[in-house]
Symmetry: C2
């Protein structure tokens, strides 16, 4: 284990497409969406802490989720849960954490791992991250490129280049470019070419290297974050945060760091194939929980609170209510049975759940959001 390796877990975003399970006040990373017995952020901890060590895990989350995160992760030091006064996207979150880590350990390598993704093959994930950590010693920004399962249009892609032949990182390749979420025809070309990988938003780099890119590409954001980082934990902590944070620009780390670095030929990609999923909607959830092909179809119950009566049906039921759910003659159904909202949709309409959330907003049903 590289003792300079630190993990940053950005835990933001409300997961609108997993509503009403995921809500503004209780986003998806706090939920056991997959019925594993651990919430998504707990599963992220379970994967990442053994790689970097408990003491080297940092979480960046909203002020309002601080308490729940601390409760769910009793092993983490409270000083390593960084609270954002308001959401400022990933460049601010990861930038600030990186600065605080670099202040403690100038030789640090940081890796950022989303709080709400799923990985089924953790051993393989670890091997990939080990390579990424070695590759980061070059001073380049390292990312992980996921083998596409299909020509998805919901993910960005990474175009991979030549093998670099690095010691300890035998599969590392140059990343030629990042590509935005493509149209379907472009996605098919990407996948057929064999050269494109999904961008899972994982970045591993020397803290100093990442901050160098940040300083060059967005000096204003860099300066603001530096002021906050210097004041962090001092008497002027609260005042500085209150003064500087609201004015920070909302930008994604992809735009501020990854893309400019790739354009400068300074991004390495480690190909990975470890059952990654962004758990973006109920279709993802159903796929991750569906019986293996060949087994009889059926309805999967998550949450365990309900008696299921199932007649010629398939799909998933999330139940927070102690009652019987009967499903008759419907396939690929998604049911979320909470105290104040019942959602019914199908796997193929999982992306449209956000439209119901918009409707709830328009109707002023703010308690439900």
């Amino acid at each position: 284990m590289n003792t300079h390796f630190h993990a940053i877990i950005p835990a933001g975003g409300s997961g609108t497409r997993l509503w009403p399970l995921s809500r503004k006040a209780s986003p998806k990373f706090l939920h056991d969406v997959l019925g594993t017995g651990r919430s998504l952020i707990q599963s992220t901890w379970d994967r990442v802490a053994p790689i970097v060590g408990d003491e080297n895990v940092w979480v960046v989350t909203g002020q309002s989720h601080l308490e729940q995160v601390a409760e769910q992760l009793p092993e983490i030091s409270p000083t390593k849960i960084l609270a954002e006064p308001s959401p400022k996207d990933s460049a601010a979150a990861i930038g600030l954490a990186t600065m605080l880590i670099a202040q403690e350990d100038p030789e640090a390598i940081v890796g950022s791992f989303s709080a709400d993704h799923s990985i089924t093959n953790v051993d393989e994930f670890r091997l990939v991250i080990d390579q990424a950590c070695v590759a980061a010693e070059t001073g380049d920004i390292v990312t992980v490129g996921i083998m596409p399962r299909n020509p998805a249009t919901a993910y960005g892609y990474i175009e991979t280049g030549e093998l670099l032949g690095l010691d300890g990182a035998p599969t590392a390749r140059r990343a030629r470019a990042f590509a935005e979420k493509p149209a379907a025809s472009t996605a098919r070309k990407y996948v057929n070419s064999g050269r494109y990988r999904w961008n899972a938003g994982m970045f591993i780099a020397k803290a100093s290297a990442l901050l160098d890119v940040l300083a060059t590409e967005d000096p204003t954001l860099f300066a603001g974050l530096s002021r906050i980082a210097r004041a962090w934990g001092t008497e002027s902590h609260e005042d500085t945060l209150a003064e500087v944070w609201p004015g920070l620009e909302k930008r994604a780390i992809d735009y501020v760091v990854a893309e400019p670095a790739a354009a400068a030929g300074r991004v390495i990609v480690i190909p990975g194939d470890f059952g990654w999923d962004d758990v973006g909607d109920f279709d993802s959830v159903a796929r991750l929980r569906q019986p293996v092909p060949g087994e009889p179809r059926g309805v999967i119950s998550i949450g365990g609170n309900c008696d299921l009566l199932e007649v010629d049906s398939s799909g998933v039921v999330f139940s927070e209510q102690p009652r019987t759910v009967a499903i008759v003659g419907l396939d690929d159904l998604v049911v979320v049975d909470t105290e104040d909202v019942l959602l019914i949709t199908s796997r193929s309409h999982a992306q449209d759940v956000k439209k119901a959330v918009s409707l709830a907003g328009e109707r002023g049903l703010d308690d439900l959001l």
Copy 2:
């Protein structure tokens, strides 16, 4: 109004296909299944009482529903709600009521009207029943033949014969025969022939004529019912009921009275086309509540307890729970949201709801039945 005309409303049957709205302890006739503001038995009262007069309406129901029926129909005299100690099918129910009516009024004409059917055009219904009442003066058994909307296999049919040219019943025809629920191909032949009508289970006859057929066709049932009727309201009422009722045979009035009478050329049919429906399943309910063709599709809320958030969907939601129901991308959906059971199905699987009820029974979930 013919002051000798009495209506019998048999209110039995649990309506398994409308579960979990309709349950053993609370069958469908007690529910406002169609969201009209009146339960099905109340709507039956509303149609029938103006024809025969409040004093001439009789209800036959299970002992356990007596109280609820009396509550829902405050206008009815308690002595005219007849309680069956156990379900014995329609021949016993209608036979007993007819005997009690005949004891009061030997010249009575009785009409039996199910407690849980729906009729949209009440004016037309009344014109048909007026004809039926006139036709019953002939001493024949009169029934109503519903114009088929489609080659349904869920209903029995009546084969109609020649016009009878009766004064005051100009559309009355001879009924040639009753036909059981047919196979689909037979149903198509029936409908294409133009001669067949749905059997809605309405029988109108002189009490004496109906009892004559009953005495001839099932002397044992007739004798048992006669003993009970003679004891009714006397000191030996309870004892006689307890002694005789359990041994009565369960038979439908169709087999005991209507079919033998038709075979003897003694049934008259009045064709009717007044939006009759047996409200047999949620598909019926949805059809009866669906917007008129040409209007935008949508989800119809019945029960009025829920906020509906609807995205590209159609169907019906029955809500007894004060919460939001969001439906995304599903067509012809049926949702019943009760305190202890949530049912989700589609209109095309409405008939299969009874399978879920069977499952609940097999699992020993007796409280839900």
